[in-house]
């Protein structure tokens, strides 16, 4: 396996031939190919942090520069503008609009909402809970705070509606742009519920402001995020993309084994390397390990995308009038890297 | 109306501006106050008109006021102090509006004031559209509209050019010919004092003290006659002698605003 890899890179790499000719030393000791990825400092980027920290990128001959962004929207824009080669973040209508213009292409999965994994929560405010908002299906007709129109939370509500036979028109979505404003509106009793990431949801419960009435992963599993790059990168630097994905997959498998293992009863158990991997993610996200541990999302060990869900996402945004009707979901995924 | 100033002192912080002023403006006279700049002439006028509070001393008025007098002691200002956003007639109306007058009388007072100063045709004009001389005529008309018993004139011609000054002096002469309104006339211009005043008070500089009161014997309407010139020249020399040294000092002082 290793031998094959060395060989392939030696053939393809410009420096590789020279390196082989000069010495038998591994190529990464010679010269690493520079590349970069845009990430958010969240546990959902965990596999990237692991691949970087444990040297999987370097083993593939890549020197990957991690560029931290503060909002999901900035990452595909940075890929589109060529500031970074890769990006890994949540899928929003904005992402699909960039993809529709040929700026980004999905190449592998990031995290997803999966049954049994607490990633995104429906949280009911106290008064609404008392008034009978006890389960996700009750959200129909309610006022729900989300970040923005076109956000992942918007889609999660759409998915919930698809499951229980209503549409987002049947509820009032209140876009508040960011978590502090959502929290303020929720605590101030301005909305009945919010859809929020696990850390925010747990904080709301801890503050006595609301009750978690369900998890998106249990209700409607879906592909929350993806690894993507520019079509130009795929066309011109295909070997780089391949190397990148191999390193990513190594980390994904390790992450999956450590954090996504369930026992016979269905409870999540600590897998091999749990503590050391948790420490890596905690350091990269500048969070306490216990905080990170409370919100570790599910990832597919090979990085396979939920293709049907991506197709559904595109259809949903098209029906909402937020993504160009002409976009074909298949055209913005390149499935040749993850098999 | 008479104005009696007794033992007046005024200081700004440590600076003594006026000291020991005892002065009476007699009924019907025009009393000019001259002195170099910075001698407290304007402050004296402000105190006399009740818009500057003196440090010590008393100011009293005595005597009759004309019929229909609304503001016995009335100012005419160097910079005219017209409201730029009001027309000529509305500037006159300003000083009548807060008095309970019948509308007809108000109109009548405004018209009388404007006509006397030759401003009737300019009644709708804004101050910016008028020359300096016309603006001061508005100031005079405004003062006349309240039928004052005493005029306090604060360098009323200083902002005007020489020819306009001459014309305005004629207006003042005509005014005093008819009305004989008591007046306290502050100026630094000797020629104005010589043309208009019955008596001239010379103030010294810092602290402003009363140096001398010079009486001009010649009747006002005779002063352009050749026969009057000898006397006027004599008074002029005397006044100039009194203020020359201090005017020089004032001139050399570095402005310390």
């Amino acid at each position: 396996m290793t031998v094959v890899r060395w060989g392939r890179r030696t053939v393809l790499g410009v420096m590789g031939a020279a390196a082989l000719a000069l010495s038998a030393a591994p190529a990464f000791a010679q010269s690493l190919e520079k590349t970069s990825i845009g990430v958010l400092a969240l546990a959902s980027s965990g596999p990237i942090f692991i691949a970087k920290s444990k040297g999987y990128f370097e083993k593939e001959g890549l020197d990957v520069d991690l560029k931290m962004f503060t909002s999901a929207q900035q990452v595909p824009v940075a890929v589109a503008s060529g500031d970074v080669d890769f990006g890994v973040t949540g899928l929003t209508a904005g992402f699909y609009n960039l993809a529709a213009k040929g700026a980004v292409t999905m190449i592998a999965a990031q995290s997803r909402d999966e049954p049994g994994f607490e990633l995104s929560a429906y949280v009911a405010a106290n008064t609404a809970f008392a008034a009978g908002l006890k389960k996700p299906a009750d959200l129909k007709g309610k006022r729900i705070a989300i970040t923005t129109v076109g956000s992942t939370f918007h889609y999660m509500l759409g998915l919930l509606g698809q499951k229980y036979g209503f549409t987002v028109k049947d509820l009032t979505m209140v876009p508040l742009q960011d978590v502090p404003k959502m929290t303020a509106a929720f605590k101030g009793g301005q909305v009945d519920a919010i859809v929020a990431p696990v850390t925010v949801a747990r904080q709301m419960v801890a503050d006595g402001a609301g009750t978690i009435i369900g998890w998106v992963g249990d209700e409607t599993p879906w592909q929350l995020g993806a690894l993507f790059t520019g079509p130009k990168t795929i066309a011109q630097r295909r070997p780089t993309v391949e190397k990148f994905i191999r390193a990513y997959q190594t980390a994904l498998a390790e992450y999956h084994a450590a954090f996504n293992t369930k026992d016979a009863s269905g409870a999540i158990v600590k897998g091999p390397g749990y503590d050391s991997l948790l420490a890596i993610i905690a350091e990269a996200t500048k969070q306490k390990p216990e905080v990170v541990a409370a919100g570790l999302p599910y990832v597919d060990p090979q990085g396979k995308l939920l293709i049907d869900d991506v197709v559904n996402q595109v259809k949903f945004w098209q029906a909402e009038g937020q993504v160009d009707k002409a976009l074909d979901a298949k055209s913005i995924m390149d499935l040749s890297f993850v098999k | 109306m008479r104005l009696i100033i007794k033992d007046l002192c005024h200081r700004y912080d440590d600076l003594v501006v006026l000291e020991g002023i005892d002065l009476t403006v007699r009924e019907g006279e025009v009393l000019a106050v001259i002195g170099p700049s910075g001698c407290g002439k304007s402050t004296l006028l402000g105190i006399a008109g009740g818009i500057v509070a003196p440090t010590s001393g008393t100011i009293e008025t005595a005597g009759a006021v004309p019929d229909g007098c609304l503001n016995p002691v009335t100012f005419i200002f160097q910079d005219f102090a017209l409201l730029p956003w009001r027309s000529v007639e509305d500037n006159l109306a300003l000083v009548l509006e807060h008095h309970p007058l019948p509308a007809a009388e108000r109109r009548e007072r405004i018209e009388a004031g404007l006509r006397r100063m030759g401003l009737w045709d300019f009644r709708k004009a804004l101050p910016k559209q008028l020359s300096g001389g016309m603006r001061q005529r508005v100031g005079i008309a405004r003062a006349l509209a309240v039928r004052p018993a005493m005029l306090l004139l604060d360098e009323p011609l200083s902002a005007l050019d020489a020819q306009t000054r001459e014309l305005l002096m004629e207006d003042f002469l005509a005014l005093w010919q008819r009305e004989r309104t008591t007046a306290l006339y502050v100026t630094h211009n000797l020629d104005e004092a010589l043309r208009l005043a019955d008596r001239v008070v010379v103030l010294s500089r810092r602290p402003g003290r009363l140096r001398e009161i010079v009486t001009i014997e010649e009747p006002r309407d005779q002063r352009l006659q050749p026969s009057a010139q000898a006397h006027l020249a004599e008074v002029r020399d005397r006044l100039w002698h009194l203020i020359r040294a201090e005017a020089q000092l004032a001139d050399r002082e570095i402005a310390n605003a």
Binding site: G94, N97, P175, K181, V323 | W85, H98, L126, K128, V146
Partner: protein, 269 residues
């Protein structure tokens, strides 16, 4: 007699050396500059120099704007934003002028007010949005508050410095004619301060326009600011620029109205 030893020189014309350094009006220059700018911008896209994603061409922006006009959403957005700007601005202006007047006239109010205004003015209003949500909810009141709060402080400053600039000699003239305090305020101080207050309006109107975008971050369905935010979130750059264009046209319109108002009210200047 002239000195005959001096050389006789022929008469010379005086050379003109004034010229320059005067500003003449070029009425069409600004329009022409605009036209050139738009043409260059359009051509960068036509010749493929810039991707339409990064800078949509004017034609795409115009198309997006046209679509907004056609489906009537432009009016819906404009109506919502104008209402917020109008109410928020009016609230901030009325309160700001009241406080500014108090500070302009009363020395105690000034002693208390100046440090307070200096302390609160630079607070970024956007940072306070979560607090506004808690205080005023997510409906219209919090949007009015955001704009009103932003307008309030500059109005205070403009008003009290405008009152400071009212010539003291006019106030003393009024006092010397025995005008009562209230009349002096109404007839001298207020009109005298009007130019400064109107100049303040120009600034606060722009602030209101800037803050309407911030205000519409709070759960707004309609509004030019909400439209711009959504377009940004959806990466629809042509719509984004169309919204920005509407905002700047709105700014231009408000500026024109203020100019007319100034010409009417300040004819005397």
């Amino acid at each position: 007699m002239p000195d005959t030893s001096l050389p006789v020189t022929p008469a010379q014309p005086v050379r003109f050396r004034g010229g320059g350094f005067t500003v003449r009006t070029h009425r069409w220059a600004a329009l022409l500059a605009f036209a050139v700018l738009i043409a260059v911008w359009e051509s960068t896209n036509r010749f493929g120099l810039v991707s339409p994603l990064f800078l949509p061409p004017p034609s795409a922006v115009a198309k997006a704007l046209g679509a907004m006009v056609a489906d009537g959403s432009l009016w819906q957005h404009l109506k919502a934003s104008l209402m917020r700007i109008g109410v928020g601005w009016a609230m901030g202006t009325v309160c700001g002028m009241a406080v500014g007047f108090a500070m302009g006239i009363g020395s105690v109010a000034r002693a208390v007010g100046v440090p307070l205004v200096s302390a609160f003015f630079p607070i970024p209003k956007i940072a306070l949005l979560p607090l506004f949500i808690l205080w005023f909810g997510i409906g219209e009141p919090s949007k009015f508050a955001t704009i009103g709060f932003g307008v309030f402080f500059p109005t205070v400053i403009a008003t009290y410095s405008a009152i400071d600039s009212v010539p003291r000699n006019l106030i003393r003239m009024a006092q010397s004619f025995g005008l009562p305090w209230a009349s002096i305020l109404r007839k001298i101080v207020l009109p005298g301060a009007l130019p400064g207050i109107l100049a303040g309006f120009r600034i606060t109107a722009s602030i209101a326009l800037i803050l309407v975008v911030a205000a519409e971050m709070i759960g707004a369905e309609y509004g030019i600011g909400a439209f711009v935010l959504t377009a940004g979130n959806l990466m629809l750059t042509d719509q984004l620029l169309a919204g920005v264009l509407v905002l700047s046209l709105l700014g231009l319109a408000i500026g024109t109205v203020l100019s007319i108002l100034e010409r009417r009210l300040l004819k005397w200047r």
